[in-house]
């Protein structure tokens, strides 16, 4: 291994953030941030082009001793599941920079530094193969996110940032306890690959399962620990919302996939019905809440709860279709909901209102914007031909195999999704032009288009030709299922 590619991917944004600190001109800061994130994205493409889809093993691994006395190493590596999210994170990195170009007009340098630091840490989470290293990245993420919401957020930013911090910290505390227990029961090692091979007693697995459940459920978020999400989303600046929705929410589901399933297979199988029911509750409850919203951002935020419910549902079906669908749906949700937050941000920049009641007839004022909004709204409601439909079909098909009632609840969530998204679109885009929109709205410009179009490409690409994406995760998912069922027993 000549080039430590993963280290490059993780630390490029970090180095970029450090370099930004020495710049003065806001425009130079913006262009540098854009350059750094695009470079990082290019490195990711290089990584994917060298990625071997035929094996489940960790690839591009790097191991260096860090704190040998405690068994802590600096170990990076990715399998198919993490590769997909490294790619997603790097993709959204430069889209976030573009989305903040004019939306952030004060303390630009500090904002971009936080953004890049955030990206480095998120990439670190997905690449870490050492539990301690993982925990460091996981916890450190809180700081730039707290700053992004708390400094550049809306009027209630301090409250929202604090709530976000408290919830996640409480979850992380449980995670830390779990990590320590795992360390002692798993042979005093932090190596994730070694820990996956351990056969823990069921009692220990159960306790760990619930500790991890609390930690990850806050991140996903699952009902009833979701209440930080709407506040955080509404107050966060656009780029913050995109990161939150597209990547941070995935961390919880990723935690289940990386820790709960392979390390605690017996407990996973034993409690899978509970998880299916919790997921179904989140799908329906999130959908109902979204239906009742007048604030565009809140609507998208609550829809995230519903859609992430579909992800955890897919994961805990513990069958191939459900798992692959769930993971694909994580990617889809990142693309689509990221885009929806971007769209809310774009229109908010122009009109300074997010209340659906203030809109109407936007199609006549900004036709390109509304046409593209339609694409992402339809993608979010999983219209056949778009990315989410493929994921949804897989998850539902897996869900029906696991539990008919839970599958039916998930279908109800899909119906609710159509109701709130089409309802929102009809009120915002169609009908007579509302008073507030008569003169001050311009359509999307080239910079905004550059942020939107790549996401639009993924909507249709995954919708019609998801095979490359499924191929990336396929071997890893099959191996994960084998791990769960060989030791946890079949369902």
């Amino acid at each position: 291994m000549a080039v430590p590619l993963l280290s490059l991917i993780v630390f490029t944004p970090a180095v970029g953030a450090a370099a930004l600190m020495f710049m003065r001109n806001d425009d130079v800061v913006r262009w540098t941030a854009l350059g750094v994130t695009i470079l990082d994205f290019a490195l990711c493409i290089a990584m994917l082009s060298g990625f071997d889809t035929s094996t489940y093993g960790m690839q591009f691994t790097e191991t260096r001793p860090w704190v040998p006395t405690l068994g802590i190493t600096y170990a990076l590596g990715i399998d198919g599941i993490s590769a997909l999210f490294v790619f997603l994170t790097a993709l959204l990195g430069w889209i976030c920079v573009l989305a903040s170009w004019t939306a952030i007009d004060r303390k630009v340098k500090e904002f971009m530094v936080s953004l890049l630091a955030m990206q480095a840490l998120m990439l670190g989470v997905f690449c870490a193969l050492d539990l301690f290293l993982f925990y460091v990245f996981w916890e450190a993420m809180l700081i730039p996110m707290y700053v992004i919401i708390g400094v550049w957020g809306g009027d209630g930013r301090v409250y929202a940032a604090f709530k976000f911090f408290l919830y996640t910290l409480a979850g992380s505390l449980m995670f830390l306890i779990g990590v320590i227990v795992l360390y002692f029961h798993g042979g005093e090692t932090f190596d994730i690959r070694t820990l996956m091979a351990q056969d823990l007693p069921f009692q220990v697995q159960s306790w760990l399962f619930f500790a991890f459940l609390i930690a990850f459920a806050v991140k996903v978020p699952m009902v009833p620990v979701h209440t930080w999400l709407p506040d955080a989303h509404v107050q966060a600046p656009t780029a913050g919302s995109i990161i939150l929705a597209a990547v941070l929410l995935k961390m919880g589901a990723y935690g289940f996939l990386r820790f709960s399933l392979p390390m605690l297979p017996e407990a996973t199988v034993h409690y899978s019905t509970l998880m299916l029911v919790l997921s179904a509750v989140a799908i329906v409850y999130g959908g109902l809440l979204a239906l009742a919203q007048d604030d565009l951002k809140k609507l998208v935020a609550y829809s995230s709860i519903s859609h992430m419910g579909l992800v955890t549902l897919g994961i805990f079906t513990l069958n191939l279709r459900g798992l692959e669908g769930g993971i694909l749906q994580m990617f889809n949700h990142g693309v689509t909901t990221g885009a929806l937050f971007l769209f809310v941000g774009l229109i908010y920049e122009r009109t300074h209102t997010r209340s659906i009641a203030d809109y109407g007839g936007l199609m006549k004022v900004a036709p390109v914007y509304t046409a593209l909004l339609a694409l992402f709204a339809l993608s979010s409601m999983a219209l056949p031909g778009t990315n989410s439909f493929v994921g949804e079909l897989l998850v539902l098909s897996g869900a029906f195999a696991a539990n008919l009632a839970v599958g039916a609840a998930a279908v109800l969530g899909a119906l609710l999704g159509a109701a709130y998204l089409l309802g929102m679109y009809r009120k915002v885009a169609l009908g007579p032009v509302s008073v507030g929109l008569r003169f001050k709205v311009r359509d999307v410009n080239a910079r905004e288009m550059a942020a939107i179009l790549p996401l639009a490409v993924f909507v249709l690409w995954v919708g019609l030709y998801p095979r490359p994406f499924l191929e990336i995760i396929d071997a890893s998912v099959k191996h994960l299922l084998a791990q769960v069922h060989s030791r946890g027993g079949a369902q």
Partner: protein, 484 residues
């Protein structure tokens, strides 16, 4: 055989839509696009007919979407029936639309023609889809692009009607249809259309299969089987050419087409019969036939009466298929064509009356036949076909249906067919009678006269309805291929 022609048929309509958008400002050129594209599309469809009539299929597999699911086209006899009807009627509808939109000086004509062309692309794509996944992509596309056509007038009524339209169609497909698809994929591991039935011989409980079946029947809400019919009368707020599109060319035809696909190629005749689903569906369809006819009797708005008539006539198609006797199935399939030719004539007439005189209600139409002899003559021909009087097309399909229900030994449905024919006569003939023999309440102004751009297409479709009655061989041959 493998050919790119199914894709080409879809592409022609998509390109037509793009051309319409690009020629936004150049009205004459823009309006010429649709007729030219419709003729091209019909030619492409017709060029595949010999292969299909000879028992072959035209295949085009593009790529794999998921394991067991391809994005693929396969032109078979059933798809050919639907595609022939819609591409042929698009020619008439495109000319009629130009006349209608110009005469009334409608707004947003570019959007109208672009959406119209795209809906034809969706119809062709659906007709040629080789599996459920490909089919629903085009099915949903059709719902979406017809939505702006339904709210075209953008008034209170338009928003309310189009809302109902979308709520019903999307609601059904995002709930029961989605469940049916996921369950089918889970049970069969594929979504392909298989002669004899994809689900025939799978390992699944009868209860589950029954649930899946009814999820399809009501999930394809475009078939307007009660209680999923209310969107159709609500969509009457659209301009008349759109009603023609909805009722004859694409939308409802897509609905019954999907139901037939499910009966023939997803479940298969054997499984539908074995589970007793055929008779159950036949009762639902019979109820729809009779109820909708009674609704139609009570409507004075001509388009509303026609709309309920469509609800009723669609269930003939469903009824024919689920009686599961070969003759009845042939009757159901060819009724797709017979109903399309006659119903488009009737809608064209309603639009022609409206353009010429501004009248919508039947009670105001007394004596109008003397002003609009061609229109009302065509209306009479269309009515006769709906009722099932020889030599019009409706007679042939009803003949097969009646024979088929006798063959299946199902007398109740025979009676339903006869009663409904009487009802058809009861709500259609008074219109023609009043138009020709009634006296006008007040003298109409001389401006009430035939508009050539409207009259020519409607006379042509009236001739088509009779021609199909006299020469039904093409559609009968296709239908027999499916049933065999």
């Amino acid at each position: 055989m493998i050919s790119i022609r199914p894709l080409l048929a879809v592409a022609v309509a998509v390109l037509a839509a793009l051309a319409v958008l690009l020629l936004n400002k150049r009205v004459k050129l823009r309006d010429a696009v649709s007729p030219v594209a419709s003729i091209a599309m019909f030619a492409i469809v017709a060029s595949m007919a010999p292969t299909v009539l000879a028992g072959g299929t035209v295949d085009l597999r593009l790529f794999e979407i998921l394991p067991g699911i391809d994005f693929a086209f396969r032109v078979d006899a059933l798809g050919m029936v639907f595609a022939t009807v819609s591409s042929l009627l698009w020619i008439a509808a495109s000319i009629y639309s130009i006349g209608y939109m110009r005469h009334l000086n409608e707004h947003a004509q570019t959007r109208f023609f672009a959406c119209f062309a795209t809906s034809l692309a969706a119809a062709a794509g659906g007709a040629f889809a080789a599996n459920l996944f490909t089919l629903v992509i085009f099915y949903e596309l059709l719902s979406l692009v017809t939505y702006p056509l339904v709210y075209h007038h953008e008034d209170e009524e338009g928003w309310a009607g189009s809302r109902k339209y979308l709520v019903y169609l999307m609601g059904a497909s995002k709930s029961v249809l989605l469940a049916a698809l996921a369950l089918t994929y889970q049970i069969a591991g594929s979504l392909d259309f298989v002669p004899g039935g994809l689900l025939a011989g799978v390992n699944a409980s009868a209860q589950l299969l029954t649930v899946v079946y009814f999820c399809y029947l009501f999930g394809f809400a475009k078939a307007a089987v009660m209680p999923m019919h209310a969107w159709l009368p609500a969509a009457m707020v659209a301009p008349t050419p759109v009603s023609a599109l909805l009722h004859a060319v694409a939308v409802v035809k897509m609905g019954v087409f999907c139901v037939l696909r499910v009966v023939f190629h997803v479940f298969g005749v054997g499984l539908v019969g074995g589970l007793g689903l055929g008779i159950a569906t036949a009762y639902v369809a019979s109820f729809t036939i009779l109820m909708a006819s009674i609704y139609a009797l009570t409507r004075d708005d001509l388009k509303a009466r026609l709309a309920y008539s469509t609800v009723s006539q669609l269930s003939y198609v469903v009824l024919g298929a689920v009686l599961l006797s070969p003759v009845a199935m042939v009757g159901g399939i060819i009724h797709i064509a017979a109903h399309a030719f006659s119903k488009i004539t009737l809608f064209f007439c309603a639009g022609s009356i409206y353009c010429a005189s501004g009248k919508r209600n039947i009670s105001d139409m007394a004596g109008i036949g003397r002003r609009l002899p061609w229109t009302m003559g065509a209306f009479f021909v269309g009515s006769l076909s709906m009722i099932g009087v020889p030599p019009a097309a409706g007679f042939i399909s009803k003949w097969y249906l009646v024979l088929g229900s006798a063959e299946a030994g199902e007398t109740p449905f025979l009676i339903v067919l006869l009663i409904s024919s009487v009802l058809n006569a009861a709500y259609f003939l008074p219109v023609s009678y009043a138009a020709f023999f009634g006296t006008e309440a007040q003298e109409s102004p001389p401006t009430v006269r035939e508009i050539p751009m409207l009259t020519i297409p409607l006379v042509a479709t009236a001739i088509l309805s009779v021609a199909m009655g006299i020469f039904p061989d093409y559609f009968v041959a296709l239908a027999e291929r499916i049933v065999r």
